[in-house]
Symmetry: C2
Subunit: 203 residues, 2 copies
């Protein structure tokens, strides 16, 4: 039975790095941006459109809580969004049933939770706000020159988007402990040490 | 530096069994009821009184949110409760600085979080409500004959008491992910397998 670890993570926590290194340590396949590429391959949509939908920015354009409207243009936009979500579900299930792997983000915990052919372990990675700010500032691309205030805003906005997308797609609350098998607070953890410990856990 | 693992756990989740077996697996000392015995030894109070205070039942008698009253009898009761809490803090710090150990319950995560001489790891163990009911029913003492409805009530009541005591003693919320380094959902986990995995994590 394939072992599949899903990693949901707060922006700024370093969950992506943790996932990548853990996949290396365990010798598992690793999927992150690859999910989006596979959605683009599967649908007729551009990467930009797919990214807009799966990063939750589409909420600004068409609030999904209005299920049906009397506006055919609006309804078509909702239907197209649904197509992206369905392609995402298919892509993630295909990845999970192909080999042992780690999948970062994309509501993979929810999408895979009732797939019988895999051994699923759902992780949520989080950290204190202060630690998220520090990490994001340290990792800003050269030339970005964001102030601390701007970084704080960015963290709040992206995590709000992630929550909104997850809640919308799953009807559950992003970060609620019931949705995960393990939640890891990385605030005081050294990433490499934690990866080593988690390799010990999963091996 | 001593390694200290604190385990807070929902009633019915099996966190105590997990803690005991993990201590065995790691070769750590294990403290659970021992904390109460040590409080009794340290103070002039009876086990019954200490249990009443630390199990949060005292809230019924004297709501702690009213910090000062004009009733000297009430104030004295609050002061006596404080003495038990202080004794608990001392006892837990003594245990933590003595040897590698696991301490179950008793707000130990909070009490130890700023102790410099130890390497602290704070775990919260939880499970779905249905799984808590099943486990509690299966482990009821012979002759208890509790109905499922009664067990459900018991679980809710005890977990409410635990939360109230923690929130009162720490001004934090029991079970909030920020207060722990790792939260483990044991709903679908086999205890012995999980213990083995955690031994791999900590070794």
């Amino acid at each position: 039975m394939n072992k599949v670890i899903t990693i949901a993570r707060e922006f700024g926590s370093g969950g992506r790095e943790l996932g990548r290194k853990l996949a290396e340590g365990l010798g598992y396949d690793y999927y992150d941006k690859e999910v989006l590429k596979a959605i683009v391959d599967k649908t007729e949509y551009s990467m930009e459109y797919v990214e807009n939908v799966v990063h939750g920015k589409s909420h600004v354009l068409f609030p999904i809580n209005v299920e049906q409207s009397f506006d055919p243009v609006y309804d078509e936009l909702v239907m197209e969004k649904r197509k992206v979500i369905e392609a995402q579900n298919d892509v993630i299930k295909e990845m999970a049933t192909k080999s042992n792997c780690i999948i970062v983000g994309r509501c993979a915990d929810y999408i895979l939770k009732d797939v019988p052919e895999i051994e699923l372990f759902r992780i949520f990675v989080y950290s204190d706000f202060e630690s998220k700010v520090k990490r994001t500032l340290a990792r800003a691309h050269e030339g970005e020159n964001l102030t601390e205030k701007e970084v704080e805003k960015q963290i709040k906005r992206i995590n709000k988007d992630r929550a909104a997308f997850y809640n919308d797609a799953t009807s559950l609350n992003w970060g609620d402990k019931e949705n995960y098998d393990m939640m890891i607070n990385v605030t005081k953890q050294d990433t490499d040490k934690l990866v080593q410990e988690l390799v010990g856990f999963f091996k």
